[in-house]
C-alpha cells in the first residue's frame, strides 16, 4: 500500500502527534478517558478526524493520535513488538490489511462486537471487508480502501491507437509503449510494492499465491505458485523487462520514482495508487507542474493478464483494529464507528486523497469534483483482490521478493517452483530470509 505524504502535512501531523502525546502523558488528570490512536503518516487527515470525533463524543472520550513510522512494514514491526509486550497504551491502530491476519492470529486484536461488525460491513466495498476478515470473522474495521489504477497519458495512448475505454492487457500496453518509445512504469523495486504487483498479476490470471494458509501448521501451507496462472503472471514480468519498456530503473523503482517518470513524460503508462492525482493537482498549485500535464492524465482499470478476463487490481488502504490490551475496547469501537462514518471518509478522500471503504461516499459530489475518476476507483475496488491472507504474510512477501527480483531475471518456467520451495522452507524455519 502507499500513502502519499506531503512534507507540510507530515510536519503538521508530527506536531499534532507530539502535542497529543504530551496531553496524553498527563494521565492522572481528571476528564474523559483518552484513547490513543496509532496512525500511519498522512497529510493530517487522521489527526483532524480524531479531533472531530473527540468533539462529537461530547466528553465521553478523547482521541489522541500517535504517529507510526513511514513504511507499512516498520509500522507492523513497532506495533507487534509493543503488543507482544502487552502494551495497554494501544487503543486504536491503523493497520495495513495484509498484516491483519497476523495480528488476529496472535491474539493482538480485541474482538469486534457483533453489532459493530454488522454495521462495519454494510455498504462497505466487498474487497475491503474481505481484507479485514480472518477465519470467517471480521477482525478489524475497514477505514479506507486503496487500489491501483492504470494511469496513462492520453496523448501516448492515442498515438499508439489504444482504445482506453475498453480494458487493455499487459501485452497491449507493452506493445503500445514500445511503438511510442515510451515506458510502462511498474514497481520493480525489492519491496512490498513488488509483492503487490506479483499478487495482482497472479490474481488477474485467475490464480492465487496462497490457496490454503493452513492455520496452526504453517509448514503445510498450500501455494498456487506452480499453477499455470502463476506462470502466466511471471511471463508478463519477463516480457515487460525483455521488451525494455520498464525504464532504466525497473529494478529500483517504487511508487514515488514511477510518478516522477510519469509526470515528466518518460512513462506513458503506469500502474499506481490514486495519490498520483492528488500529487499532480498540488504540483500544479505549487507551479512545479504545468497544467497541461494532469489534463493529459487518464485513469483506467488495472490491465488484464488474460484478454477478456477482468483483472484483479491490488487492494490497499487501512483497517482499524483495537489493541487486545486496551483498557477501553468498547469506547474504542465507538470511536472507530465515528472515524469510519461516511462523512469522515468523504473528508479523508477529498482532503488526503485516500479512497473511502464505503461505496456511498463515491457518489458524494465533493468526491466526484476532487476525483473525476472516482467511479473507476470504485469499480477497481469492486474487483480488487487482497494479498495472500496468512498469519505469515511477512515471510511470504519477503520470499516472493527474493525470487522475483530483479524483474529482468525472472524465468517463468522456474520462478513459481523456486518461490514455493523457499516459502515452504522459510515457514518450516529451515532457511534464512
Amino acid at each position: 500500500m502507499s500513502q502519499h505524504r506531503r512534507r507540510r502535512g507530515a510536519v503538521v501531523a508530527a506536531v499534532v502527534a507530539l502535542l497529543a502525546t504530551l496531553v496524553g502523558c498527563g494521565g492522572a488528570e481528571p476528564g474523559p478517558p483518552v484513547l490513543t490512536w496509532y496512525i500511519n503518516p498522512d497529510d493530517g487527515g487522521q489527526a483532524e478526524i480524531a479531533k472531530r470525533c473527540t468533539e462529537a463524543a461530547a466528553g465521553q472520550y478523547r482521541i489522541a493520535v500517535s504517529q507510526l513510522p513511514r513504511e507499512a512494514s516498520d509500522q507492523r514491526q513497532q506495533l507487534i513488538r509493543r503488543l507482544a509486550a502487552n502494551d495497554s497504551s494501544i487503543d486504536i491502530m491503523s493497520l495495513d490489511p495484509p498484516y491483519v491476519p497476523e495480528f488476529a492470529q496472535a491474539g493482538f486484536l480485541a474482538p469486534v462486537p457483533q453489532d459493530v461488525a454488522a454495521r462495519a460491513s454494510e455498504g462497505v466495498i466487498r474487497s475491503a471487508v474481505e481484507g479485514a476478515t480472518w477465519q470467517g470473522r471480521l477482525v478489524a474495521v475497514p477505514f479506507w480502501a486503496n487500489t491501483q489504477l492504470l494511469w496513462y497519458r492520453k496523448s501516448v495512448a492515442a498515438a499508439a491507437g489504444l482504445d482506453m475505454n475498453r480494458p487493455v492487457t499487459w501485452e497491449q500496453l507493452i506493445q503500445a509503449a514500445r511503438s511510442q518509445n515510451s515506458q510502462v512504469a511498474v514497481q520493480g523495486r525489492r519491496a512490498e510494492s513488488l509483492t503487490v504487483w506479483i499478487n495482482a498479476l497472479i490474481e488477474s490470471a485467475g490464480g492465487s499465491i496462497v490457496t490454503d494458509p493452513s492455520v496452526g501448521n504453517p509448514e503445510a501451507i498450500k501455494l498456487g505458485l506452480t499453477e499455470e496462472q502463476a506462470t502466466r503472471a511471471a511471463e508478463v514480468i519477463r516480457n515487460l523487462a525483455a521488451a525494455n519498456v520498464g525504464g532504466p530503473a525497473l529494478s529500483t523503482a517504487g511508487e514515488d520514482e514511477n510518478v516522477a517518470a510519469f509526470e515528466d513524460g518518460a512513462a506513458g503508462f503506469m500502474v499506481n495508487w490514486p495519490f498520483v492525482w492528488t500529487r499532480a493537482k498540488s504540483g500544479v498549485e505549487d507551479r512545479t507542474l504545468d497544467q497541461s500535464v494532469p489534463q493529459d492524465y487518464g485513469a483506467a482499470l488495472y490491465p488484464e493478464v488474460v484478454a477478456g478476463t477482468p483483472s484483479a487490481p491490488p487492494l490497499g488502504g487501512i483497517d482499524l483494529g483495537v489493541g487486545a490490551f486496551s483498557r477501553n475496547p468498547a469506547l474504542s469501537y465507538q470511536a472507530i464507528e465515528c472515524i469510519t462514518s461516511a462523512e469522515n471518509e468523504a473528508y479523508y478522500f477529498v482532503e488526503n486523497g485516500n479512497p473511502a471503504a464505503r461505496s456511498a461516499v463515491f457518489d458524494d459530489p465533493r468526491v466526484i469534483e476532487a476525483f473525476p475518476m472516482a467511479a473507476t476507483i470504485r469499480d477497481s475496488l469492486e474487483q480488487a483482490a487482497p494479498r495472500p491472507q496468512t498469519a505469515y504474510y511477512s515471510e511470504v512477501s519477503a520470499s516472493l521478493q527474493r525470487i522475483y527480483h530483479p524483474p529482468g531475471a525472472v524465468d517463468p518456467a522456474t520462478a513459481g517452483q523456486r518461490a514455493a520451495e523457499l516459502i515452504r522452507a522459510v515457514l518450516a524455519k529451515k532457511e534464512l530470509l
Binding site: E395, A398, L432
Partner: protein
C-alpha cells in the same frame, strides 16, 4: 657494626620497591572504585543481552507465538551455517570491511600527515572540517549518497557521464557490484575522518628526537616514514584498524537505506535484522546475532595477536 644493623633492622623508611607497591595497591583500589560502577553498568547492558541472546538462540521462538516456544538446541546454528545466504552475507561483509578499511587507512594516514604539517593557526579549522562527515548521522549520509546516485534525483550520472561505463541511465543500485561500490564509497567518505583522527594522535606521539636523529643520519623521507614514524605508531594504527574493522563488519544502516538488501547486498547484521525484527523469529535471529558476535570477537583476537601489541602497555611507557 653499621653493616649488621643495616641488614638486621628494618630500614626507617620503606624500601623504594615496597613503597611503590603500597601506592600501586592504593591506586589499584581507587581504580576499581572509580571503574567499578561503569563496569557493573557494562555488565548489565552488554553481558546480560549477550547471554540472553545466546539463551534465546537455542529455541524455536516466534514473537507472535510464544506458547509454541520449543528448545531446539543448536539446530538454529545448523540452519544458518548450511544456508548459502549466510555465506553470501559473510562474503559481502568481509569485502566491504577489507575494501573500506584498506582505503580508509591510506586516505586517513594522508589526512593525518596533512593535519600535523598544518600551520598551528589553521589546524583546528582543518581538523574540524575533516571531521564533519564523521559527525553526520549514518542514515542521513546514506540517504544523501543514495539521492546523489539515484536515477531520478542524482547528479552523478550527468557529472561523470564522460567516464566509460557511466551513462545517463546507469542504475547504480540495480546490480551487486555497482551497489556495493556506492555503499563502500559512502562508508569511506563517512569514516575516514575517524581513522585519520586516531592516526593523528599516533603521529603526535612519535618523538621528534628520533626524527631528528634519523635526519642527521641522512635518512630519506621514505626511510624515516618506514623505519621511524610507522613503527613508533604501531599501537595507534592497530587501534584505528581494529575499531574500524569491527565497525565495518557490523555495517547495517547504509545497506538498509540504499538497497534494502536487494541484489545480494545483505550484510550479516542485515541478516540478523531480517530474522529477528522482520520475521520475528527470535531464536533464529539471536543465533545470527551470536554468530556475528563471534565473528567480531575473532577479528579482535586476530588483530591483537597479529600486531603483537599489549594495549594496556601503550601509555607511552615502553
Amino acid at each position: 657494626m653499621a653493616a649488621p644493623t643495616l641488614t638486621r633492622d628494618p630500614p626507617p623508611t620503606p624500601a623504594p620497591g615496597r613503597g611503590l607497591s603500597d601506592r600501586t595497591r592504593a591506586e589499584r583500589r581507587l581504580g576499581w572504585l572509580l571503574a567499578g560502577p561503569a563496569f557493573a553498568v557494562m555488565l548489565l547492558v552488554t553481558a546480560y543481552p549477550i547471554l540472553q541472546a545466546v539463551y534465546d538462540s537455542l529455541f524455536d521462538f516466534r514473537l507472535t507465538d510464544p506458547t509454541n516456544r520449543e528448545f531446539v538446541g543448536l539446530s538454529n546454528y545448523g540452519v544458518i551455517l548450511s544456508d548459502p545466504i549466510w555465506w553470501t552475507s559473510i562474503g559481502v561483509t568481509l569485502l566491504i570491511t577489507v575494501v573500506t578499511v584498506a582505503v580508509e587507512l591510506v586516505l586517513g594516514f594522508a589526512l593525518a600527515l596533512v593535519m600535523i604539517k598544518m600551520l598551528r593557526a589553521i589546524r583546528p579549522v582543518i581538523r574540524a572540517a575533516i571531521l564533519i562527515p564523521y559527525a553526520v548521522i549514518t542514515v542521513v549520509s546514506a540517504f544523501s549518497w543514495q539521492y546523489a546516485f539515484s536515477l531520478d534525483s542524482g547528479f552523478v550520472n550527468s557529472w561523470f557521464g564522460w567516464l566509460p561505463g557511466i551513462a545517463a541511465d546507469t542504475d547504480w543500485f540495480g546490480g551487486t557490484a555497482s551497489s556495493l561500490f556506492v555503499v563502500c564509497l559512502t562508508e569511506i567518505w563517512k569514516t575516514t575522518p575517524f581513522i585519520s583522527l586516531l592516526l593523528l594522535a599516533g603521529l603526535a606521539q612519535v618523538p621528534e628526537v628520533l626524527q631528528e636523529a634519523a635526519k642527521v643520519d641522512g635518512a630519506t623521507w621514505w626511510q624515516r616514514m618506514w623505519k621511524v614514524t610507522i613503527p613508533n605508531m604501531k599501537a595507534a594504527i592497530m587501534v584505528a584498524l581494529l575499531f574500524r574493522s569491527l565497525d565495518a563488519f557490523r555495517i547495517f544502516d547504509t545497506i538498509f537505506v540504499m538497497t534494502g538488501g536487494a541484489n545480494s547486498t545483505e550484510s550479516v547484521a542485515f541478516l540478523a535484522y531480517r530474522q529477528t525484527i522482520e520475521r520475528l523469529e527470535i531464536g533464529l535471529g539471536s543465533a545470527v546475532s551470536v554468530l556475528l558476535f563471534l565473528s567480531v570477537t575473532l577479528i579482535s583476537v586476530l588483530f591483537i595477536k597479529g600486531f603483537k601489541i599489549d594495549l594496556s602497555q601503550t601509555r607511552g611507557d615502553r
